[in-house]
């Protein structure tokens, strides 16, 4: 489903080159549920943006559903659904129902299929009570469920979520998690999400990718992740330990000047 081969993205900021992501390689098979962890500014969002065709990688190659997201952006867009936890992809002033109608037009979803799918998503995500409410008046939990529904109206084979549980209360979080798990097991939709919430990882992800300083720091199952720090049983503590001592996880020692900070002149 996803093939990332030594992808990197650098930005030039006031004459300095900053490497947000470098030499990142991983593979995600169809039907997987992958969690992507990493400290703030580690390059998770940049990676998501390269997978979804928002940003072009400055090095390396990535394919999603067999297509290059930079060259075939619109073809990739039809195959994937994207949710940004921090920012809605819906239209602020329009009722949720109208936002869905615009999404239908953009993805050219057939009217009958759309009605069927929207009915199903409305029931599963409990959207019935606020379909007529403008998006700006929705609570964060309602908005997030609306965003998830919008990303799934065209029935994508891959769903990418950037921090989908950020800021949600425990009940909303549980609802979102239950929905994503069912989506993965029942429909077979591949799910990739980034998160800072280890609860997401423990309850949902069979596989964890840890990104630190723009590099792959760990790639394996949740149990393997736990085993990297002997004596620790709580995932929260294991992850904290890894963030603080992440250089120990590197597959090769850093070259001079390559350690933190990630900026090079």
């Amino acid at each position: 489903m996803i093939d990332a081969d030594r992808i990197g993205r650098s930005f030039r900021i006031r004459g300095t080159t900053v490497h947000a992501v470098r030499d990142l390689s991983f593979h995600v098979a169809a039907g997987e549920f992958v969690g992507c962890l990493g400290p703030n500014g580690a390059g998770k969002s940049t990676t998501i943006k390269m997978l979804t065709g928002i940003l072009a990688p400055t090095s390396g190659r990535v394919t999603v559903a067999g297509l290059d997201p930079t060259r075939r952006r619109t073809a990739v867009a039809r195959e994937i659904g994207v949710v940004f936890g921090q920012r809605t992809t819906l239209w602020w002033d329009l009722p949720l129902r109208d936002s869905f109608e615009l999404v239908r037009l953009l993805y050219k979803v057939d009217r009958v299929q759309f009605r069927e799918r929207l009915g199903e998503l409305t029931e599963r995500l409990g959207l019935g009570g606020f379909l007529a409410t403008p998006v700006r008046q929705l609570s964060l939990g309602q908005r997030m469920r609306g965003d998830i529904a919008a990303a799934l109206l065209h029935d994508p084979s891959l769903l990418v979520l950037d921090e989908p549980t950020i800021g949600l209360d425990v009940v909303s979080k549980a609802e979102v998690r239950a929905f994503l798990r069912d989506l993965n097991t029942e429909r077979g939709t591949t799910v990739v999400l980034t998160t800072h919430d280890v609860g997401d990882v423990e309850r949902l992800c069979r596989r964890v990718i840890l990104i630190d300083h723009g590099r792959l720091a760990f790639d394996g199952t949740v149990d393997e992740l736990r085993a990297t720090v002997p004596g620790e049983t709580s995932i929260e503590d294991v992850v904290a330990h890894l963030y603080l001592n992440s250089s120990a996880l590197r597959t090769r020692p850093p070259r001079p000047g390559e350690d933190s900070p990630t900026a090079t002149a």
């Binding site: 930005f11 969002s45 943006k49 979804t52 065709g53 928002i54 940003l55 072009a56 930079t70 952006r73 619109t74 073809a75 867009a77 039809r78 994937i80 994207v82 940004f84 921090q86 920012r87 809605t88 992809t89 002033d93 329009l94 109208d98 109608e101 615009l102 037009l105 953009l106 993805y107 050219k108 950037d162 921090e163």
Partner: protein, 261 residues
């Protein structure tokens, strides 16, 4: 194109839920445009010609340029909001959709408010044509020049949008070329200096919106003495500028850096 029409129709229906606001904006737009025509009347109450052209001919040039500009303004000028979309992060949401970014930005929050301007320009053009008595053998050029004008103005908007990918903080720079270009072509180019006319003929092809094809329709020799063949080259100029605009827009999207998180 079909997606674009469906999108603007959906936004029009959304805008129709606030009919008072919609009506006020349309009236305001039409009044502003009417004042521009009043300016022409004021000028001709003091003189009989402007740059060697009489009132009907000036109205013809004003009407064709105004119609082309108003149509492009109505349909595509939302693209000058691209820098706002970049800053607010809404461009990210557009990039995940399977539709071109230009179409999405142009259709986003579309309102038909500016239709009043197009109507006003069409009326001026109608009055001018009634007074001019253009022979049918030359009148075919009129729809051609309006379509070319729409393409030229739309391309200028796309180019200024592409520029905003580089200069996110200076969207006003682009307005000099869009609204400035519209004002420039409202009058016979003979009122401007020869260097400016050469510039809008060979560099930014505003002279092909209404000036060169207009000379043909009016049956006038070029007061600047430029080649006769130029008056038939509006489609070539429009197509060339459109191709440049498409590449510039694509390059802009490719250079896009997105915002944090």
């Amino acid at each position: 194109m079909r997606v674009y029409l469906l999108l603007i129709w959906t936004w029009t229906r959304a805008a129709a839920r606030y009919p008072a606001s919609f009506a006020l904006m349309t009236v305001a737009g039409t009044v502003t445009a009417a004042l521009e025509v009043a300016v022409i009347w004021v000028v001709f109450s003091n003189t009989t010609t402007l740059g060697g052209f009489d009132l009907s001919e000036v109205m013809f040039l004003y009407g064709t340029s105004g119609l082309a500009f108003a149509a492009a303004d109505l349909l595509f000028s939302n693209t000058d909001r691209i820098s706002q979309h970049i800053k607010a992060g809404t461009l990210d949401a557009m990039l995940i959709r399977p539709v071109g970014t230009f179409v999405q930005v142009a259709a986003d929050r579309f309102t038909p408010n500016r239709a009043g301007r197009a109507l006003q320009a069409a009326i001026v053009l109608g009055v001018a044509l009634a007074r001019l008595d253009v022979p049918a053998s030359r009148a075919w050029m009129i729809p051609v020049m309006v379509v070319c004008g729409i393409v030229i103005f739309t391309s200028i908007w796309a180019l200024s949008g592409a520029l905003q990918f580089l200069l996110t903080d200076a969207p006003e720079v682009a307005n000099a070329f869009t609204y400035g270009g519209a004002t420039l072509t409202q009058y016979p180019l003979t009122v401007y200096g020869a260097d400016l006319v050469r510039g809008v003929t060979y560099v930014l092809p505003l002279a092909f919106v209404n000036w060169q094809p207009g000379l043909y329709v009016l049956g006038r020799a070029d007061p600047m003495g430029l080649p006769y063949a130029l008056r038939f080259l509006s489609p070539v100029a429009a197509a060339t500028l459109a191709v440049v605009a498409v590449f510039a827009w694509r390059a802009g999207v490719r250079r896009y850096r997105s915002t944090g998180s």
